[in-house]
Subunit: 374 residues, 2 copies
């Protein structure tokens, strides 16, 4: 504090940390282009993606599969873009054919907004397929992707897929606290920023890139969170990206199988179920608030539904540092509370199903009908 600062965000130590983070994240984005880091929640990152690349009056196509997709489109509209929205039924992914039809019907979109992982519905969009359709049918459109809660947990190939801007947030896959958004832009997106006229100063990504090149940030960064992201990346490197991805896949498989075995209906289309969050329908006859209270008393934090899904679904996050063991613990809590509240469940079935699914995900399925439990 004051005279004797522990951390100087204008010093060489910060500069090397920043450089380590920005270059260390590139393989997760799948890009060789520049990344900027801003001190905001993920939503600030989405706003940065819009206001830096677009101008009032630009025609923008928003494809919303949930409340974060709605928010992304709303930002563009607030800043004066002419926004058309394709609304997808919640729980479903965006349909490449519908996207193709809209792009053919109405040429001239300056940008298309896509959500990679829609936290509100636990659906992951097939970004590679969707981007391919845009590249083919609207090659001049910028592809802006909200991957706040996806990137780092699942493979992403920004350069290979032709995506222009990708946004992620420190508190999601990166094992850190909230407070930072990281935004990668393709060369043509960086170029677009030179002429885009939506107003911005705090979120000005060109100013961030210029400052980052000198080892700094243009405004005081959330230093404590920067340290955590640095440590999170170190842990991810130690574990290896492939293992990180496999762990998230195993946790997701375990969560889905466990919830299903406990009699919960999964909310997302199984073909596009998220690998970082799982939503299930609150069963008829179960009071969400008291159910949630009982689960929380056992140390497991569930998220309720948002907006029109309030009280109808619950969500279990499984990203960042989460392990299969933690998922089993969560399943145990859900099982105990379910049984205690009178639901007819055979003890152990949720945990066993989760464990089996995790093992199968890791390629460790046991031979059938063999072993002590068979």
């Amino acid at each position: 504090a004051g005279a004797r600062q522990m951390i100087n965000h204008r010093g060489p130590e910060f500069a090397s940390m920043l450089e380590r983070i920005l270059s260390g994240m590139k393989p997760y984005f799948g890009t060789s282009s520049d990344i900027a880091m801003i001190t905001t929640a993920g939503t600030g990152g989405l706003e940065a993606a819009i206001v830096n690349t677009l101008s009032p009056g630009d025609r923008v196509l928003g494809i919303s599969i949930g409340s974060f997709g709605d928010r992304f489109a709303k930002i563009a509209q607030i800043y004066g873009a002419e926004v058309t929205t394709i609304e997808v039924e919640w729980g479903q992914a965006a349909d490449p054919e519908v996207l193709r039809a809209e792009l053919d019907r109405s040429p001239g979109y300056k940008a298309v907004l896509l959500t990679h992982n829609e936290t509100s519905t636990s659906v992951m969009n097939p970004i590679e397929e969707l981007a391919a359709v845009i590249r083919e049918h609207a090659p001049d459109a910028l592809i802006l992707v909200d991957s706040v809660s996806g990137l780092g947990a699942v493979p992403f190939d920004m350069d290979g897929w032709g995506v222009d801007v990708v946004v992620t947030g420190s508190q999601k896959a990166w094992m850190a606290a909230p407070g930072l958004a990281m935004i990668a832009a393709s060369p043509r997106a960086w170029k677009a920023m030179e002429t885009a006229t939506m107003p911005r100063l705090y979120l000005d990504l060109l100013a961030h890139r210029e400052s980052h090149a000198g080892g700094q940030t243009p405004f005081t960064p959330a230093i404590a969170v920067v340290y955590q992201v640095d440590e999170g990346l170190r842990l991810m490197t130690e574990e290896g990206a492939e293992h990180v991805f496999a762990r998230h896949e195993a946790c997701a498989a375990a969560t889905r199988a466990g919830l299903a075995a406990l009699g919960f209906d999964l909310f997302a289309d199984p073909r596009y179920a998220s690998r970082t969050v799982t939503a299930a329908t609150v069963p008829g006859g179960v009071d969400w608030k008291s159910f949630n209270r009982a689960v929380k008393a056992r140390g497991v934090v569930l998220a309720g539904g948002q907006g029109k899904l309030t009280g109808k679904i619950f969500r279990l996050g499984h990203l960042g540092s989460v392990t299969v063991e933690e998922i089993l613990g969560a399943m145990s809590a859900l099982e105990i509370v379910s049984i205690a509240s009178g639901r007819a469940i055979r003890p152990g079935v949720g945990v066993a199903a989760a464990q089996a699914a995790a093992m199968e995900s890791y390629g460790l399925s046991a031979p059938t009908a063999v072993g002590v439990g068979a």
Copy 2:
């Protein structure tokens, strides 16, 4: 992380912490109106002050006494306000007479932008006097004040002085890490937000106020910093606001006296010298970079000048948890490095002057010509 979160920003624990912070800060702002908390650097808070209360085309008077004042005016201009700027010589405070003349000459300003503590020059503006001039000569103008690095360290009476918006930052007086900006608005500023048309979503203060009323934030907050601000406020309450203010005053007096005794020319007009940061001129013949390196090796972090003051001044911060003892330590380092670099200084003179000034500031001056050292 994930399944078992340590901190749930949608839970009752966070809600009480947020309420404790927002009400605990009110006496420091000197307001009974509502405060909003956003996850950004201080500059994001300044942008929020502008974009929530103003509309493109509004006439705005910016009074700049340094680089942060320039930035405040630049934000208004970027968002389409018609900005007139009064430029004050760096090192000086704003002159109420000049302000009065401009308001009389050119009626109709929708807002006046003031910097309370200008970090780049270590000057504190006389906000009470300036606000009184505005209230009298342009009663309809909103008074927007950047007190990022002042509030909490010195008395402020937003309601009493008729100030409309005040912005502060977590890493300054509040003893916390960077990442949060707190913004108080007067009833008429909150009212202005209902019709102001500059675009905003992430920085939308009405959305923050509404969410805060329910014990939440509209977007994921920098939770770790929220905890720190809560703890900082607790320490400040324990110490007592009057003691906090007196400590900052004593630290500032000690810093100024010590630097002067070491032969450094203070940069700010002494009548308006900041109580949270002190700037001194780099003496002729002293190379700033090697001087700074040597001081840093002794654990003291100085800030250089910004923009046109680069290499010409250095700055020593003394806010947050800083104590007189830390200031004495910093003076010792500056004295040793000064002497080692060949400047003619009698050993002990800087530390002694700082100590005497701190004691005088605390009302503890020793009787003259008495005592062992006399």
